[in-house]
Symmetry: C2
Subunit: 403 residues, 2 copies
C-alpha cells in the first residue's frame, strides 16, 4: 500500500466514456489499497469555450479575471470525476486548487507553486477517500485564484506528489510513453522503459511534448518518479527518474521542424558582438535556441543561431536595424530542421557524435551546423533531408542494439 | 455617497449585450461616487448545461459534488462582468462565494448563510474597486463549497447588504417592479412604488415570484430596503421595506391557478381529526396551503384544504387509505384557483374582505371557501371564473383609488 498521484489530461476526461475510463483506473488503484490523489485538467474543449466567452467581452481581459474564468474548467472536471467514482462505489471528494492547498505566487496566468499545504488532502486520504484535485490552479497569499500556465496540470500533479511524499506520480495522457523516435515518423521506434529527468528535459525542449519541462524540473528537484502512460491501454509506460537501471548511450532521436536559421557572416572580431545581438533579441522576447559562433579568415567571425519560425522575420529585422553591429552578409533560412540525439550515457562515451555524423554522411546529407551538450548532439540540416536523416540515425543507434 | 448592493439575475447577464448593459448600470452607480457591490447569478442556461453534464454521469449525483459543479456557473459570470467593467474603465474585482466571505452551514444544495466575513469586500471597496461577488454560493466551516438553493442569489445580495450595512439592495430582474395585479392578466395593473416586507411575503407565496421569500425574510430581519427593478429600463422599480409612506388598504391582487381543493364532509366532531390528516400529509412532504374547517349539522364537520395540483392525487390516496379517519364524502377538485388580496393596511380597516366578496357577488361568482390573515384575504373559486374575478376585484380596489 502506498500513496500515488494519478493525473488525467483534458482528452482523458473529455466525454462520459473517458471520464468513466479514468474513474475505473483510479478505482482500481484505490481498491488495491493505495491512497490515491487524482489530478485532472479541464475537459477537452472547455478551455476553448471559456476563452471564446472572454474574447466576446474584451480583446485583452485582465489576467486575474481570466484565471477566475479558466479555473472553472478544472472545477467542472473534478466534480464530474467524483460523480463517476461514486457510481463505481469508490468514495471520492473533489478539491479545487485552494482546497487542495496549492499556494502560488501572484503572477496570474503563469503563477509558480510556492507551497502545498497538505492538511486537507491528508485528511481525505486518512478517511480512505480518493482526493480529486483540480490541476492548473491555486491561490496566492491574498486568496486570489491563480493559474499556473502551460503544462500546469502536470506540474500540479508532481507538486502534490512531492509534497505528500508519494511513491509515484503517473501522468495519463494520449501517448503511451516516451519513444526512441517519433513513432509516427520513424520506423522501428521503440518505447523506452525508463529515461532520466535530464534526457526528458532535452527531449521536451526538442518538440517531443510528452511532459512539460516545468513538471520534469520539479520532479527532478524533488526526486519524484514520474510515469507517462496511456489511459486507453493497460500497457506500462515510461518511467522518468534520476537514474535509469541501464544507461543507454542514446535514448532517443528527435526532430524539430519549427526552426529557422539566421546567419551573419563577416562580423568584426571584437568583443561585444554576440552580446549586442542576443541582448536585443532577448528584450523583444525572441527565444534563441542553438547559437554557434566560429572564427573565420581576416579577423572576422560567423554567427549562426536558430529561432522559432514565427519569430524569424522579426529577428531578422531587428538585426538589420541594429546600427552597432556590422557584418558582410545576413541570411535567414526557414527550410531547416533540427535533429538531435539524446542520451545520459553519451557523456562518458566518446564517438557518439561522430557515429551520428557517419550515419548522415552515408546518406549524403549535408550538416549546416552542429551544437553539442553533455547529453545531446544537435545538427541543423535542410528540411528536405530531415525525414531520411532521422530514420538513418535511428537505424544506426537502435537497429544495431536490437541485433 | 453610499454603499449599495446591485444584484443581476441569470437573464441580466445571459449574453454579451446584457453583460455590458449590467456593467453600465454598475459603472454609473460607481461613477456617482457610491461604493458598489455587484452580485451575479449564473448566465441564462449555464446551470442547465451543467445539470446535463451531471445527468450524463449519474442519475443521483452527490449534493456536495453538484454544489462544486454548479458553483462554476456564477464564477464564470463574475469574471465576465469584471471584464466588461474593465472595458468601461471601471475597476472591478471578482470574488467567489468563499472569497466574498459567505459562510454557510453544511447542507449542500440548500445551505443557509450563517455569517458574512466582510474583510475582503471592505478592502476592495476601500480601494475604490467594484466588488463583483458570486451569488448562490458559499463555503462551510470545513471549506467545502456549498450552494444556497432556490432564490439563492437574491438571498446572497440581501445578506451582503445586511452585513455591509448597505443603504440599499437593488435586485435587477426581468420584471420592472411589483404590480397591483399580474400585468399580463389584469387590465389597469399599476406598478407599486413601495410595498412592505410582509405584503411581499404574502404575494410571493401566492405565485408572484418576483423575489424569493428567503431573501425577503432576510431583508425584513435586517431592515435592508430592497428595490426590485428592470435592468432593461431606467424606470424606478418597487421598494420593499418595513413601513411604506402611504399605507394602502390593498396593495395587490394575486391569482394562483396551481391549486386543487380536497374536501371531506361529515367527519366526526371529535378531537384529533385534523391532526391525523395533516400529519400524514406532512410526513409525505405534501405542502398544504389553505385549511378551512367548519362545523356542520349532527356533530359532524367539514374540512377543506388546498394543495399544489401535482400533489393532489397523492394526497387523496393517502386520506383514502387512512383507517382512523372516517368521513361521509371525500372529493378532489383540480379546476379551482385561489384569488387573494394583500395589504398591510387591511388589518386596521374592517370591511375590506366584504368589499372583495361584493365585487365577486356582482359578477355572479360563487366562492367555494375563504381564508383570511392579518394582511390577506384569499378565496377559492372555480378556475373558469378566475380571470373575471381578478379583474373585478382589481377594478374595485384600484379604479376607485385612481379616480
Amino acid at each position: 500500500m502506498s500513496l500515488i498521484v494519478l493525473k488525467f489530461g483534458g482528452t482523458s476526461v473529455a466525454s462520459r466514456e473517458r471520464l468513466f475510463n479514468a474513474a475505473s483506473i483510479v478505482e482500481k488503484a484505490w481498491r488495491a489499497g493505495n491512497d490515491v490523489v487524482a489530478v485532472v485538467s479541464a475537459q477537452g474543449d472547455t478551455t476553448d469555450e471559456l476563452l471564446k466567452k472572454a474574447a466576446e467581452i474584451s480583446p485583452s481581459p485582465s489576467e486575474r479575471e481570466m484565471d477566475m474564468l479558466l479555473a472553472t474548467g478544472e472545477q467542472i472536471s473534478i466534480a464530474l470525476l467524483c460523480m463517476a467514482l461514486h457510481s463505481l462505489g469508490c468514495p471520492a471528494v473533489s478539491l479545487t486548487g485552494w482546497q487542495a492547498g496549492v499556494l502560488t505566487d501572484s503572477h496570474h496566468a503563469k503563477a509558480r507553486i510556492r507551497f502545498v499545504e497538505t492538511r486537507r488532502l491528508r485528511e481525505e486520504l486518512a478517511r480512505r477517500n480518493v482526493a480529486v484535485a483540480a490541476g492548473f490552479q491555486g491561490t496566492d497569499a491574498q486568496g486570489n485564484i491563480t493559474t499556473i500556465g502551460r503544462g500546469g496540470s502536470d506540474t500540479t500533479a508532481v507538486a502534490l506528489a512531492a509534497a505528500l511524499g508519494a511513491s509515484r506520480c503517473v501522468i495519463y495522457t494520449d501517448v503511451d510513453g516516451v519513444y526512441t523516435g517519433d513513432p509516427r515518423l520513424v520506423r522501428g521506434a521503440q518505447k523506452l522503459k525508463e529515461i532520466t529527468y535530464d534526457e526528458m528535459l532535452e527531449l521536451a525542449s526538442m518538440g517531443a511534448q510528452v511532459l512539460h519541462n516545468r513538471s520534469v524540473e520539479l520532479a527532478k528537484r524533488n526526486g519524484v518518479p514520474v510515469e507517462v502512460r496511456s489511459s486507453f491501454t493497460d500497457e506500462p509506460g515510461t518511467i522518468v527518474r534520476e537514474e535509469t537501471m541501464e544507461r543507454r548511450t542514446v535514448s532517443g532521436v528527435a526532430q524539430d521542424a519549427d526552426v529557422a536559421v539566421i546567419s551573419l557572416t563577416g562580423t568584426a572580431d571584437v568583443p561585444g558582438i554576440a552580446y549586442k545581438i542576443f541582448d536585443r533579441l532577448a528584450k523583444e522576447k525572441i527565444n534563441v535556441d542553438m547559437i554557434v559562433q566560429s572564427a573565420a579568415e581576416n579577423h572576422c567571425k560567423h554567427i549562426c543561431f536558430t529561432v522559432a519560425q514565427d519569430q524569424a522575420a522579426q529577428a531578422l529585422e531587428l538585426i538589420q536595424n541594429q546600427r552597432d553591429v556590422a557584418y558582410q552578409s545576413l541570411n535567414m533560412d526557414p527550410d531547416v530542421s533540427k535533429i538531435s540525439i539524446v542520451g545520459a550515457g553519451m557523456a562518458g562515451s566518446a564517438g557518439v557524435a561522430s557515429e551520428m555524423f557517419e550515419a548522415l554522411y552515408k546518406q549524403g546529407i549535408n550538416i549546416m551546423f552542429i551544437s553539442t551538450s553533455e547529453i545531446k548532439v544537435s545538427v541543423v540540416i535542410k528540411s528536405q533531408d530531415a525525414q531520411r536523416a532521422v530514420q538513418a540515425i535511428h537505424d544506426h543507434f537502435f537497429q544495431a542494439e536490437n541485433q
